[in-house]
Amino acid sequence: MVVRAEDLLQKIQKEQEDKLQSIQVSKNIEVDVDCGNLLACDTNSMDTQRLRSEKEVYLKTLAREGAQLLFNEIWKLPIERIQEAVIAKLPPPTTVLPREKPVPKPKQPTKWEEYAKLKGIRKLKKGRMVWDDESKSWKPRWGYKRANDDTKEWVLEVPRNADPNEDQFEKKMKEKKERIAKNDLQRLRNIARRTGKKVPGVGQTAVAQENKSKTELESAFHVAKQATASLGRFQETLREEKNVKKRGQKRKFEAVTQKSNTEKERQLNILNQMYKKQPQLNITKAVNKEVQDGEVRKPKAGKRKPAKSTKAVKGGKRPKRGKR
Protein backbone atom coordinates (compact mmCIF):
# COMPACT_ATOMS: atom_id res chain seq x y z
CA MET A 1 0.00 0.00 0.00
CA VAL A 2 1.30 3.35 -0.94
CA VAL A 3 0.89 6.24 1.40
CA ARG A 4 1.26 9.71 0.27
CA ALA A 5 3.73 11.75 2.21
CA GLU A 6 1.44 14.80 2.28
CA ASP A 7 -1.38 12.86 3.93
CA LEU A 8 0.93 11.44 6.49
CA LEU A 9 2.30 14.85 7.33
CA GLN A 10 -1.21 16.23 7.71
CA LYS A 11 -2.20 13.36 9.91
CA ILE A 12 0.78 13.83 12.24
CA GLN A 13 0.16 17.58 12.40
CA LYS A 14 -3.47 17.01 13.33
CA GLU A 15 -2.51 14.53 16.03
CA GLN A 16 -0.08 17.00 17.51
CA GLU A 17 -2.69 19.74 17.44
CA ASP A 18 -5.12 17.48 19.28
CA LYS A 19 -2.49 16.91 21.89
CA LEU A 20 -1.84 20.63 22.23
CA GLN A 21 -5.53 21.35 22.46
CA SER A 22 -5.74 19.19 25.55
CA ILE A 23 -3.22 21.51 27.21
CA GLN A 24 -4.45 24.81 25.89
CA VAL A 25 -7.50 26.37 27.44
CA SER A 26 -9.00 29.51 26.08
CA LYS A 27 -11.00 31.79 28.31
CA ASN A 28 -12.55 35.17 27.69
CA ILE A 29 -11.17 36.63 30.87
CA GLU A 30 -7.82 35.37 31.99
CA VAL A 31 -7.95 33.11 35.06
CA ASP A 32 -6.12 34.34 38.17
CA VAL A 33 -3.60 31.74 39.25
CA ASP A 34 -1.90 31.88 42.64
CA CYS A 35 0.71 29.15 42.61
CA GLY A 36 1.74 29.70 46.23
CA ASN A 37 -1.71 28.67 47.46
CA LEU A 38 -2.28 26.25 44.52
CA LEU A 39 -5.30 28.39 43.69
CA ALA A 40 -6.95 29.21 40.35
CA CYS A 41 -9.76 31.76 40.36
CA ASP A 42 -12.11 31.69 37.33
CA THR A 43 -14.01 34.98 37.01
CA ASN A 44 -15.75 34.11 33.69
CA SER A 45 -19.53 33.97 33.71
CA MET A 46 -21.15 30.55 33.60
CA ASP A 47 -22.98 29.21 30.61
CA THR A 48 -26.38 28.79 32.23
CA GLN A 49 -27.90 26.85 29.34
CA ARG A 50 -25.22 24.21 29.38
CA LEU A 51 -25.36 24.12 33.19
CA ARG A 52 -29.02 23.23 32.99
CA SER A 53 -28.83 20.70 30.19
CA GLU A 54 -25.69 18.77 31.14
CA LYS A 55 -24.71 19.88 34.58
CA GLU A 56 -22.18 17.21 35.56
CA VAL A 57 -20.26 17.28 32.32
CA TYR A 58 -20.12 21.05 32.24
CA LEU A 59 -18.87 21.34 35.83
CA LYS A 60 -16.28 18.66 35.20
CA THR A 61 -14.92 20.44 32.14
CA LEU A 62 -14.82 23.70 34.07
CA ALA A 63 -12.87 22.04 36.85
CA ARG A 64 -10.53 20.36 34.38
CA GLU A 65 -9.85 23.65 32.61
CA GLY A 66 -9.09 25.38 35.87
CA ALA A 67 -6.80 22.60 37.02
CA GLN A 68 -5.13 22.55 33.60
CA LEU A 69 -4.40 26.27 33.78
CA LEU A 70 -2.99 25.87 37.27
CA PHE A 71 -0.72 23.04 36.19
CA ASN A 72 0.41 25.00 33.13
CA GLU A 73 1.58 27.70 35.50
CA ILE A 74 3.25 25.20 37.80
CA TRP A 75 5.20 23.68 34.92
CA LYS A 76 6.58 27.12 34.18
CA LEU A 77 8.17 27.25 37.64
CA PRO A 78 11.74 25.99 38.22
CA ILE A 79 11.46 22.23 38.44
CA GLU A 80 13.73 19.67 40.01
CA ARG A 81 13.75 15.94 39.79
CA ILE A 82 14.56 14.12 42.99
CA GLN A 83 14.46 10.31 42.87
CA GLU A 84 11.91 10.13 40.06
CA ALA A 85 9.68 12.68 41.76
CA VAL A 86 9.15 15.98 40.03
CA ILE A 87 9.22 18.88 42.41
CA ALA A 88 8.28 22.46 41.67
CA LYS A 89 9.31 25.26 43.99
CA LEU A 90 6.24 27.34 44.77
CA PRO A 91 6.51 31.11 45.02
CA PRO A 92 5.14 32.86 48.12
CA PRO A 93 1.33 33.06 48.04
CA THR A 94 -0.20 36.28 46.72
CA THR A 95 -3.77 35.79 47.93
CA VAL A 96 -4.28 36.99 51.49
CA LEU A 97 -6.29 34.49 53.56
CA PRO A 98 -8.34 35.64 56.55
CA ARG A 99 -7.10 34.24 59.95
CA GLU A 100 -9.12 31.72 61.88
CA LYS A 101 -8.78 33.26 65.37
CA PRO A 102 -9.15 36.93 66.31
CA VAL A 103 -5.99 38.96 66.59
CA PRO A 104 -4.56 38.59 70.10
CA LYS A 105 -4.87 41.63 72.26
CA PRO A 106 -1.58 43.17 73.28
CA LYS A 107 -0.55 42.06 76.79
CA GLN A 108 -0.94 44.71 79.43
CA PRO A 109 2.54 45.77 80.49
CA THR A 110 3.61 44.92 84.01
CA LYS A 111 4.34 47.63 86.51
CA TRP A 112 8.04 47.41 85.76
CA GLU A 113 7.53 47.51 82.01
CA GLU A 114 5.45 50.64 82.42
CA TYR A 115 8.09 52.25 84.56
CA ALA A 116 10.89 51.23 82.20
CA LYS A 117 9.06 52.74 79.28
CA LEU A 118 8.54 55.96 81.20
CA LYS A 119 12.20 56.20 82.11
CA GLY A 120 13.41 54.92 78.78
CA ILE A 121 15.12 51.88 80.24
CA ARG A 122 15.80 49.33 77.57
CA LYS A 123 16.52 45.68 78.14
CA LEU A 124 20.04 44.75 77.13
CA LYS A 125 20.51 41.46 75.42
CA LYS A 126 22.83 39.38 77.52
CA GLY A 127 24.37 36.07 76.56
CA ARG A 128 23.27 32.91 78.35
CA MET A 129 26.78 31.69 79.13
CA VAL A 130 29.29 33.60 81.21
CA TRP A 131 32.95 32.93 81.83
CA ASP A 132 33.53 31.64 85.34
CA ASP A 133 36.98 32.62 86.50
CA GLU A 134 37.17 30.12 89.31
CA SER A 135 36.40 26.99 87.38
CA LYS A 136 37.88 28.37 84.10
CA SER A 137 34.85 27.38 82.11
CA TRP A 138 31.72 28.79 80.57
CA LYS A 139 28.72 28.49 82.80
CA PRO A 140 25.10 29.70 82.64
CA ARG A 141 24.49 33.20 83.92
CA TRP A 142 21.67 32.05 86.21
CA GLY A 143 20.05 28.90 87.53
CA TYR A 144 21.54 25.53 88.31
CA LYS A 145 25.37 25.40 88.28
CA ARG A 146 25.55 29.10 87.50
CA ALA A 147 28.74 31.07 87.23
CA ASN A 148 29.94 33.10 90.20
CA ASP A 149 27.36 31.50 92.47
CA ASP A 150 27.30 33.64 95.61
CA THR A 151 25.31 31.07 97.59
CA LYS A 152 28.06 28.50 97.30
CA GLU A 153 30.68 30.52 99.11
CA TRP A 154 32.41 28.63 101.87
CA VAL A 155 33.46 31.67 103.84
CA LEU A 156 31.84 35.05 104.37
CA GLU A 157 33.20 38.22 105.83
CA VAL A 158 31.47 39.55 108.92
CA PRO A 159 30.90 43.27 108.40
CA ARG A 160 32.58 45.49 110.97
CA ASN A 161 29.33 46.91 112.35
CA ALA A 162 27.53 43.57 112.39
CA ASP A 163 26.75 41.40 115.36
CA PRO A 164 29.59 38.84 115.52
CA ASN A 165 27.23 36.05 116.58
CA GLU A 166 24.95 36.55 113.63
CA ASP A 167 25.12 33.79 111.05
CA GLN A 168 26.02 35.51 107.79
CA PHE A 169 25.12 32.46 105.72
CA GLU A 170 21.69 32.27 107.26
CA LYS A 171 21.24 35.99 106.75
CA LYS A 172 22.11 35.66 103.10
CA MET A 173 19.72 32.76 102.60
CA LYS A 174 16.97 34.67 104.34
CA GLU A 175 17.51 37.71 102.17
CA LYS A 176 17.40 35.57 99.07
CA LYS A 177 14.17 33.92 100.18
CA GLU A 178 12.64 37.28 100.90
CA ARG A 179 13.57 38.53 97.46
CA ILE A 180 11.96 35.48 95.90
CA ALA A 181 8.80 35.95 97.96
CA LYS A 182 8.63 39.60 97.01
CA ASN A 183 9.01 38.79 93.36
CA ASP A 184 6.30 36.19 93.57
CA LEU A 185 3.94 38.64 95.21
CA GLN A 186 4.62 41.18 92.50
CA ARG A 187 3.99 38.55 89.85
CA LEU A 188 0.62 37.74 91.43
CA ARG A 189 -0.20 41.42 91.62
CA ASN A 190 0.56 41.85 87.95
CA ILE A 191 -1.68 38.92 87.09
CA ALA A 192 -4.45 40.37 89.21
CA ARG A 193 -4.04 43.74 87.54
CA ARG A 194 -4.13 42.17 84.10
CA THR A 195 -7.21 40.06 84.76
CA GLY A 196 -9.03 42.90 86.46
CA LYS A 197 -9.29 41.08 89.78
CA LYS A 198 -8.69 42.66 93.11
CA VAL A 199 -5.03 43.21 93.81
CA PRO A 200 -4.04 40.84 96.61
CA GLY A 201 -2.56 42.13 99.81
CA VAL A 202 0.11 40.37 101.82
CA GLY A 203 -0.91 37.08 103.41
CA GLN A 204 -3.88 36.24 101.24
CA THR A 205 -3.94 34.61 97.86
CA ALA A 206 -5.44 36.12 94.75
CA VAL A 207 -8.80 34.42 95.07
CA ALA A 208 -11.89 36.46 94.57
CA GLN A 209 -14.09 36.92 97.60
CA GLU A 210 -16.99 34.83 96.34
CA ASN A 211 -14.76 31.93 95.29
CA LYS A 212 -13.23 31.49 98.71
CA SER A 213 -13.81 28.23 100.49
CA LYS A 214 -15.09 28.12 104.02
CA THR A 215 -11.70 27.35 105.52
CA GLU A 216 -10.04 30.09 103.52
CA LEU A 217 -12.61 32.56 104.71
CA GLU A 218 -12.23 31.36 108.25
CA SER A 219 -8.48 31.75 108.25
CA ALA A 220 -8.77 35.16 106.62
CA PHE A 221 -11.26 36.14 109.29
CA HIS A 222 -8.94 35.13 112.08
CA VAL A 223 -6.00 36.92 110.51
CA ALA A 224 -8.13 40.03 110.23
CA LYS A 225 -9.35 39.66 113.76
CA GLN A 226 -5.86 39.52 115.17
CA ALA A 227 -4.71 42.48 113.12
CA THR A 228 -5.36 45.09 115.75
CA ALA A 229 -2.97 46.97 117.99
CA SER A 230 -3.76 44.61 120.85
CA LEU A 231 -3.49 41.49 118.65
CA GLY A 232 -7.24 41.01 118.78
CA ARG A 233 -7.43 40.86 122.55
CA PHE A 234 -10.39 43.20 122.80
CA GLN A 235 -12.19 41.95 119.75
CA GLU A 236 -15.70 40.78 120.42
CA THR A 237 -16.56 37.18 119.70
CA LEU A 238 -19.37 36.57 117.29
CA ARG A 239 -22.37 34.54 118.26
CA GLU A 240 -21.44 31.31 116.51
CA GLU A 241 -17.73 31.77 116.43
CA LYS A 242 -15.57 28.83 117.40
CA ASN A 243 -13.19 29.26 120.25
CA VAL A 244 -9.83 29.44 118.54
CA LYS A 245 -7.56 30.53 121.31
CA LYS A 246 -4.66 28.47 120.13
CA ARG A 247 -4.92 28.94 116.38
CA GLY A 248 -1.59 28.91 114.68
CA GLN A 249 0.33 27.67 117.65
CA LYS A 250 2.73 24.81 117.17
CA ARG A 251 3.11 22.09 119.71
CA LYS A 252 6.49 22.03 121.29
CA PHE A 253 7.85 19.09 123.20
CA GLU A 254 10.92 18.47 125.24
CA ALA A 255 13.69 16.40 123.72
CA VAL A 256 13.37 12.66 124.21
CA THR A 257 16.79 12.43 125.74
CA GLN A 258 17.76 14.99 128.29
CA LYS A 259 20.28 15.36 131.04
CA SER A 260 19.15 12.86 133.63
CA ASN A 261 18.34 15.31 136.39
CA THR A 262 16.46 18.04 134.54
CA GLU A 263 13.45 15.87 133.87
CA LYS A 264 13.38 14.51 137.37
CA GLU A 265 13.57 17.97 138.86
CA ARG A 266 10.79 19.20 136.62
CA GLN A 267 8.54 16.36 137.69
CA LEU A 268 9.34 16.83 141.37
CA ASN A 269 8.54 20.48 140.96
CA ILE A 270 5.15 19.65 139.50
CA LEU A 271 4.55 17.23 142.36
CA ASN A 272 5.45 19.81 144.97
CA GLN A 273 3.09 22.30 143.47
CA MET A 274 0.38 19.68 143.40
CA TYR A 275 0.83 18.88 147.07
CA LYS A 276 0.98 22.47 148.13
CA LYS A 277 -2.41 23.08 146.54
CA GLN A 278 -1.65 26.75 146.72
CA PRO A 279 -2.69 29.10 144.02
CA GLN A 280 0.18 29.67 141.66
CA LEU A 281 1.26 33.04 140.47
CA ASN A 282 1.48 33.32 136.73
CA ILE A 283 3.70 36.38 136.51
CA THR A 284 3.17 37.29 132.86
CA LYS A 285 -0.57 36.94 133.21
CA ALA A 286 -0.59 39.04 136.35
CA VAL A 287 1.49 41.76 134.73
CA ASN A 288 -0.81 41.82 131.74
CA LYS A 289 -3.75 42.15 134.06
CA GLU A 290 -2.12 45.11 135.73
CA VAL A 291 -1.39 46.76 132.43
CA GLN A 292 -4.95 46.25 131.29
CA ASP A 293 -6.42 47.72 134.42
CA GLY A 294 -4.19 50.73 133.98
CA GLU A 295 -2.89 50.27 137.45
CA VAL A 296 0.80 50.17 136.75
CA ARG A 297 2.16 52.54 139.24
CA LYS A 298 4.77 55.05 138.43
CA PRO A 299 7.78 54.93 140.78
CA LYS A 300 6.69 58.18 142.47
CA ALA A 301 3.22 57.12 143.41
CA GLY A 302 4.48 54.38 145.69
CA LYS A 303 1.81 54.76 148.37
CA ARG A 304 -1.11 53.39 146.46
CA LYS A 305 -1.86 49.78 147.10
CA PRO A 306 -2.00 47.47 144.13
CA ALA A 307 -5.74 47.03 144.34
CA LYS A 308 -6.72 43.38 143.82
CA SER A 309 -3.35 43.13 142.22
CA THR A 310 -2.29 39.76 140.97
CA LYS A 311 -5.29 37.66 140.41
CA ALA A 312 -3.85 34.33 141.22
CA VAL A 313 -4.15 31.56 138.75
CA LYS A 314 -4.96 28.30 140.31
CA GLY A 315 -3.12 25.33 139.03
CA GLY A 316 -5.74 23.24 137.37
CA LYS A 317 -9.14 22.06 138.49
CA ARG A 318 -9.31 19.39 141.10
CA PRO A 319 -10.86 16.36 139.55
CA LYS A 320 -13.86 14.93 141.26
CA ARG A 321 -14.42 11.26 141.81
CA GLY A 322 -12.42 9.42 139.34
CA LYS A 323 -12.85 7.12 136.58
CA ARG A 324 -9.50 5.55 136.53
Binding site: F253, E254, A255, V256, T257, Q258, S260, E263, K264, R266, Q267, L268, I270, L271, M274, Y275, G315, G316, R318, P319, K320, R321, G322, K323, R324
Partner: protein, 180 residues
Protein backbone atom coordinates in the same frame (compact mmCIF):
# COMPACT_ATOMS: atom_id res chain seq x y z
CA UNK B 1 8.06 8.63 121.94
CA UNK B 2 8.40 11.87 123.83
CA UNK B 3 8.47 13.16 127.41
CA UNK B 4 5.17 14.32 128.82
CA UNK B 5 4.32 17.97 128.73
CA UNK B 6 3.80 19.76 131.98
CA UNK B 7 0.05 19.53 131.64
CA UNK B 8 0.10 15.85 130.85
CA UNK B 9 2.42 15.16 133.76
CA UNK B 10 0.06 16.95 136.07
CA UNK B 11 -2.97 15.03 134.82
CA UNK B 12 -1.16 11.75 135.23
CA UNK B 13 0.22 12.54 138.67
CA UNK B 14 -3.18 13.61 139.90
CA UNK B 15 -4.56 10.26 138.84
CA UNK B 16 -1.69 8.32 140.39
CA UNK B 17 -1.92 10.34 143.58
CA UNK B 18 -5.40 8.93 144.19
CA UNK B 19 -3.88 5.50 144.70
CA UNK B 20 -0.39 6.03 146.01
CA UNK B 21 -0.34 9.60 147.28
CA UNK B 22 3.21 10.66 148.01
CA UNK B 23 4.51 7.41 146.60
CA UNK B 24 4.90 9.10 143.24
CA UNK B 25 8.06 10.70 144.56
CA UNK B 26 9.57 7.25 145.02
CA UNK B 27 8.74 6.38 141.43
CA UNK B 28 10.49 9.45 140.08
CA UNK B 29 13.43 9.55 142.46
CA UNK B 30 14.64 5.99 142.63
CA UNK B 31 17.88 5.02 144.30
CA UNK B 32 18.41 2.03 141.97
CA UNK B 33 18.68 3.98 138.74
CA UNK B 34 17.10 6.69 136.65
CA UNK B 35 13.53 6.06 135.53
CA UNK B 36 11.34 8.27 133.44
CA UNK B 37 7.88 8.59 131.93
CA UNK B 38 7.54 8.57 128.15
CA UNK B 39 4.49 9.07 125.95
CA UNK B 40 4.22 6.81 122.95
CA UNK B 41 1.08 6.43 120.88
CA UNK B 42 -0.91 8.20 123.61
CA UNK B 43 0.25 5.66 126.19
CA UNK B 44 2.46 6.52 129.11
CA UNK B 45 5.34 4.19 129.78
CA UNK B 46 7.50 4.01 132.87
CA UNK B 47 10.96 3.10 131.67
CA UNK B 48 14.49 2.83 132.90
CA UNK B 49 16.46 5.53 131.21
CA UNK B 50 19.03 3.24 129.62
CA UNK B 51 16.26 1.18 128.01
CA UNK B 52 14.60 4.38 126.82
CA UNK B 53 17.86 5.47 125.23
CA UNK B 54 18.10 2.18 123.40
CA UNK B 55 14.49 2.49 122.26
CA UNK B 56 15.25 5.79 120.56
CA UNK B 57 16.88 3.71 117.84
CA UNK B 58 13.55 2.13 116.94
CA UNK B 59 11.36 4.18 114.68
CA UNK B 60 7.98 5.30 115.89
CA UNK B 61 5.95 2.96 113.70
CA UNK B 62 7.92 -0.09 114.74
CA UNK B 63 8.07 0.62 118.44
CA UNK B 64 5.25 -1.32 120.04
CA UNK B 65 5.98 -0.83 123.69
CA UNK B 66 8.78 -0.05 126.10
CA UNK B 67 9.04 -0.43 129.82
CA UNK B 68 5.78 -0.67 131.72
CA UNK B 69 2.60 0.86 130.39
CA UNK B 70 0.96 2.95 133.13
CA UNK B 71 -2.09 3.91 131.18
CA UNK B 72 -3.26 6.01 128.32
CA UNK B 73 -4.53 9.45 127.52
CA UNK B 74 -8.04 9.53 126.14
CA UNK B 75 -9.02 11.79 123.29
CA UNK B 76 -10.38 14.25 125.83
CA UNK B 77 -6.96 14.22 127.52
CA UNK B 78 -8.01 12.32 130.60
CA UNK B 79 -5.69 9.70 131.93
CA UNK B 80 -6.80 6.07 132.34
CA UNK B 81 -4.70 3.69 134.35
CA UNK B 82 -4.11 0.19 133.02
CA UNK B 83 -3.68 -3.03 135.04
CA UNK B 84 -0.08 -3.08 133.96
CA UNK B 85 0.52 -0.25 136.41
CA UNK B 86 -0.61 -2.47 139.28
CA UNK B 87 2.90 -3.67 140.08
CA UNK B 88 3.87 -0.10 140.87
CA UNK B 89 0.65 0.92 142.56
CA UNK B 90 0.48 -2.03 144.95
CA UNK B 91 3.66 -1.43 147.00
CA UNK B 92 2.81 2.23 147.61
CA UNK B 93 -0.94 1.92 147.98
CA UNK B 94 -2.35 3.99 150.79
CA UNK B 95 -5.79 2.44 150.91
CA UNK B 96 -6.39 -1.23 150.35
CA UNK B 97 -9.31 -3.58 150.08
CA UNK B 98 -8.96 -7.29 150.73
CA UNK B 99 -11.31 -9.68 148.99
CA UNK B 100 -12.51 -13.01 150.39
CA UNK B 101 -11.38 -16.06 148.40
CA UNK B 102 -15.01 -16.73 147.45
CA UNK B 103 -15.34 -13.30 145.82
CA UNK B 104 -11.96 -13.32 144.12
CA UNK B 105 -13.30 -14.89 140.97
CA UNK B 106 -16.16 -12.47 140.43
CA UNK B 107 -13.76 -9.58 140.87
CA UNK B 108 -11.32 -11.10 138.39
CA UNK B 109 -14.19 -11.42 135.92
CA UNK B 110 -14.66 -7.68 136.02
CA UNK B 111 -17.39 -7.23 138.64
CA UNK B 112 -17.60 -4.72 141.45
CA UNK B 113 -16.84 -5.78 145.00
CA UNK B 114 -19.92 -6.40 147.15
CA UNK B 115 -20.06 -6.18 150.89
CA UNK B 116 -20.44 -9.97 150.93
CA UNK B 117 -17.05 -10.43 149.30
CA UNK B 118 -15.25 -7.85 151.38
CA UNK B 119 -12.60 -9.35 153.62
CA UNK B 120 -10.93 -6.27 155.03
CA UNK B 121 -10.59 -2.60 154.29
CA UNK B 122 -8.09 0.03 155.42
CA UNK B 123 -9.37 2.22 158.21
CA UNK B 124 -10.48 5.75 157.43
CA UNK B 125 -10.91 5.09 153.74
CA UNK B 126 -12.92 8.05 152.42
CA UNK B 127 -15.66 7.69 149.86
CA UNK B 128 -14.51 7.62 146.25
CA UNK B 129 -10.91 7.03 147.22
CA UNK B 130 -8.73 5.02 144.84
CA UNK B 131 -7.99 1.64 146.38
CA UNK B 132 -5.86 -1.33 145.47
CA UNK B 133 -7.58 -4.69 145.74
CA UNK B 134 -5.76 -7.62 147.35
CA UNK B 135 -6.64 -11.24 147.91
CA UNK B 136 -6.59 -12.43 151.50
CA UNK B 137 -3.12 -13.86 150.81
CA UNK B 138 -1.93 -10.31 150.01
CA UNK B 139 -1.66 -10.83 146.29
CA UNK B 140 -2.63 -7.67 144.41
CA UNK B 141 -5.58 -8.40 142.14
CA UNK B 142 -6.46 -5.01 140.75
CA UNK B 143 -7.63 -1.59 141.71
CA UNK B 144 -10.78 0.42 141.91
CA UNK B 145 -12.61 3.19 143.72
CA UNK B 146 -14.18 2.94 147.13
CA UNK B 147 -17.93 3.31 146.78
CA UNK B 148 -18.43 3.59 150.52
CA UNK B 149 -16.27 4.94 153.28
CA UNK B 150 -15.04 2.52 155.93
CA UNK B 151 -17.63 3.61 158.44
CA UNK B 152 -20.44 3.24 155.92
CA UNK B 153 -19.20 -0.25 155.07
CA UNK B 154 -19.92 -1.49 158.53
CA UNK B 155 -23.61 -0.74 158.29
CA UNK B 156 -24.02 -1.74 154.67
CA UNK B 157 -26.04 -4.83 153.70
CA UNK B 158 -24.30 -7.70 151.89
CA UNK B 159 -25.39 -6.75 148.35
CA UNK B 160 -24.20 -3.15 148.38
CA UNK B 161 -21.20 -2.29 146.31
CA UNK B 162 -18.17 -1.43 148.40
CA UNK B 163 -15.64 -0.79 145.65
CA UNK B 164 -16.09 -0.05 141.98
CA UNK B 165 -14.05 -2.23 139.71
CA UNK B 166 -11.54 -0.43 137.51
CA UNK B 167 -8.91 -2.95 136.55
CA UNK B 168 -8.01 -6.48 137.54
CA UNK B 169 -5.36 -8.98 136.59
CA UNK B 170 -7.99 -11.00 134.73
CA UNK B 171 -7.59 -8.44 131.98
CA UNK B 172 -4.30 -10.03 131.07
CA UNK B 173 -6.46 -12.84 129.66
CA UNK B 174 -9.63 -11.01 128.74
CA UNK B 175 -8.07 -7.95 127.20
CA UNK B 176 -4.75 -9.30 126.07
CA UNK B 177 -4.69 -7.48 122.73
CA UNK B 178 -5.03 -4.03 124.21
CA UNK B 179 -2.45 -4.38 126.94
CA UNK B 180 0.89 -3.20 125.75
Amino acid sequence: MRPLTEEETKIMFEKLAKYIGEGIKDLIDRPDGAYCFRLHKERVYYVAEDIMLKATNVCRENLICLGVCFGKFTKTRKFRLHVTALDYLAPYAKFKVWVKPSAEQTFLYGNHIMKAGLGRITDNTPKYQGVVVYSMADVPLGFGVAAKSTSECRKADPMTIIAFHQADVGEYLRNENNLT
